[in-house]
């Protein structure tokens, strides 16, 4: 596989639940190998569905997802376990994702048994990962209620890493963490990424986290990607009005960096009956007539930026 071809490629992916709810609508997204891709959006925007599709837990209703140049559907049909080793998920609630009735050791050995990995080698690998994550060996004999929340998060990371995945999908890894410890977890994830050449999809509602740790960012609204760009460029000059509004709502401690928030009217409409035309037009401060009638396509704008808007850059947060 050449350095140019992406590790993960969504093309025109839609997921429809119950014939009505379009959780994902025509999602096209490429994640390059070794990249940290951020994903932002409000509840109901389809972030979690996108993650589930990526790791093969939800199948697309239409469109294709490829991983390492091959279709995920084919890989799952042919060798499901082999595919599941390639992409691992870090779950949001680390404590709840550990079975209360299993010791940490059993929890960590379970994937080794399921995937029938050579036992001695896997054990060695596990011991190495635990050391690297700063977990004491006696943690293996403990039950989830006997370890701290921080340790539980590290166990979640260890469980994902023991499979030697190429990709980690982290759904809100810092949600519920105090600011004094979130830096630790993110540093750890970034160290591992460099060391093992991992590719990350990192979902977070914390825009400061996205800004600091990701290279590219995709913004979702009502099941669609409305903008995707290099993180630095996205934060400097958001092209989509929704991105501009979302970024402007991030309150800054430093008064010099504070911007006038663009307060949107209303809330995210229902995905069962989404607005006509551009899905954002009902709340968009700069919507025009065309926006209500004609759905905009996701178009390439300059280098490596995709935007789904008829009038990109029309909402400038600094002039607002």
């Amino acid at each position: 596989m050449s350095a140019e071809s992406p590790l993960v490629e969504f093309s025109g992916v839609s997921v429809v639940f119950g014939g009505q709810v379009r959780a994902l609508d025509d999602v096209t997204l490429a994640i390059r190998k070794g990249e940290v891709m951020g994903l932002v959006g409000e509840s109901g925007s389809g972030k979690s569905t996108l993650c589930r599709v990526l790791v093969g837990l939800t199948s697309p209703s239409s469109g294709t997802v490829s991983f390492g140049g091959q279709s995920v559907r084919d890989q799952l049909a042919r060798e499901p376990l082999a595919f599941r080793r390639r992409a691992q998920m870090l779950l949001q609630d680390a404590v709840a994702s550990l079975s209360p009735r299993m010791t940490i050791g059993r929890t960590l050995e379970e994937p080794i048994a399921i995937h029938k990995l050579p036992r001695a080698e896997a054990q060695e690998r596990l011991a190495d990962i635990l050391r690297r994550l700063g977990l004491p060996p006696d943690v293996l004999a403990k039950f989830p209620h006997q370890i701290s929340g921080g340790q539980a998060r590290r166990i979640g990371v260890a469980r994902a890493l023991v499979m030697r995945p190429e990709m980690i999908v982290a759904d809100e890894p810092t949600a519920g963490l105090d600011v004094s410890v979130q830096g630790d977890l993110l540093n750890l994830l970034l160290d591992l990424q460099r060391e093992f050449g991992l590719t990350y999809l990192l979902v977070s509602h914390n825009l400061n986290v996205i800004r600091r740790v990701t290279e590219r960012t995709a913004v979702m609204y009502l099941g669609q990607i409305v903008e995707e760009a290099a993180t630095r460029e996205l934060f400097q000059a958001p092209a989509h009005p929704y991105t501009a509004a979302l970024l402007s709502t991030n309150p800054a401690v430093d008064p010099d960096k504070r911007q006038q928030p663009i307060v949107l009217q209303g809330e995210i409409p229902s995905a069962v009956n989404p607005p006509s035309g551009c899905r954002f037009h009902t709340r968009c401060p700069v919507a025009q007539e065309r926006c209500a009638n004609e759905p905009p396509a996701l178009v390439e704008l300059g280098t490596g930026r995709q935007v789904r808007c008829h009038f990109p850059f029309s909402l400038d947060p600094r002039r607002h």
Binding site: V179, S180, Q182, G183, D184, A245, N250, P251, V253, K257
Partner: protein
């Protein structure tokens, strides 16, 4: 100078747990000025929500000790009997809770909630007048179709709308003190921005004081006049918000600010505060932050520092703030 609306002195709150007595609040001294918005920030376990609940004397069931004073407009709330205390709740002191779904009764309409609150504040209010005021209250918090919404049930409203209803209920009371415990934490970013804008608008027409509890420094920086930083059941620093954040006196405040990621420093290691939060069961014999403080000296480990003057209107519980400033 007019006396503050609320003066909290040496407030101690302890609860009994399986591991022993947990010290939730360890001697809080705090004044809340009239017409001011006081932001209380701290991490989980710092005692900020317990402090909020104490202002309404909503005490935990496993309470083992409460001591000190909460003087509200001249009356010590802790000295009142239950009936007398009850007369303050929902009249002179109101609260907005974090989760607007569980704070509204699913069996009653929005109108029933609002009129209930009004009747408590103004017994004998005529139905018609009550309805009119309820509609006006919904409009003032930006709810469209207010008359229609009166007959809606909580589950028929979105999260942002429910929080607006909670705010409308609190404002109908016209309280002297409004306690808001993380009122935007459960909301999405663009809806949170709406509620923050609403708070900013409302304060023009609201004469009372607000205590705004949050773990979000940026939000408090934008919205509040005064800041109170809590750690391990104590107050480590108070003062006008802009000054505290521009020139923090306490090393914990400084460390918290350093952990904020709202600056562009791509490539740098992210900052965290090494160590763990203090154990609520342990007794304090030293500065509560000393085990995690990079400036801790021997003296810091020998006695509990007092919250003392640290410039005009400012106080910090650090022995060394002058040296470190």
């Amino acid at each position: 100078m007019t006396p503050p609306l609320v003066s909290i002195r040496k407030l101690v709150l302890e609860v009994s747990t399986a591991r022993g007595t947990a010290r939730i609040l360890r001697g809080i001294d705090l004044d809340i000025g009239r017409g001011r918005i006081a932001g209380v920030v701290g991490e989980s376990g710092s005692g900020k929500s317990s402090l909020a609940a104490c202002l309404l004397r909503l005490l935990p069931a496993n309470l083992s000790r409460i001591d000190g004073e909460i003087v509200f407009d001249g009356t010590d709330l802790l000295a009142l009997d239950d009936t007398a205390m009850n007369a303050y709740r929902g009249t002179r002191i109101a609260m907005i809770f974090q989760d607007p779904m569980t704070a509204l009764n699913p069996l009653f309409t929005i109108g029933a909630h609002l009129i209930d609150v009004l009747r408590r504040r103004h017994p004998g209010l005529a139905r018609k007048a009550g309805t009119a005021r309820a509609i006006a209250a919904l409009r003032s918090v930006g709810i469209a179709d207010a008359p229609l919404r009166l007959s809606s049930y909580p589950h028929q409203l979105s999260g942002g709308m429910r929080q607006r209803v909670m705010i409308a209920m609190a404002l109908l009371v016209e309280p002297d003190l409004l306690v808001a415990d993380e009122p935007t934490t459960a909301l999405d970013a663009t809806v949170e921005a709406q509620i923050v804008a609403l708070f900013t608008d409302l304060r023009r027409g609201f004469a009372g004081s607000i205590v705004f509890i949050s773990h979000h420094l940026g939000l408090v920086a934008e919205l509040c006049d005064d800041l109170c930083v809590m750690y391990g059941g104590t107050i480590v620093e108070t003062g006008p918000v802009a000054e505290v954040l521009a020139q923090p006196r306490h090393p914990y405040t400084r460390a918290l600010l350093a952990c904020e990621l709202d600056h562009d420093a791509a490539g740098d290691r992210l900052v965290s505060i090494p160590g763990e939060v203090p154990d609520p069961v342990a007794e304090h014999v030293a500065c509560v932050f000393a085990p995690r403080c990079q400036h801790a000296a021997d003296a810091c480990r020998q006695s509990v520092p007092e919250l003392r003057d640290a410039g005009p209107g400012r106080r910090a519980a650090c022995l060394r703030w002058e040296e470190l400033a």
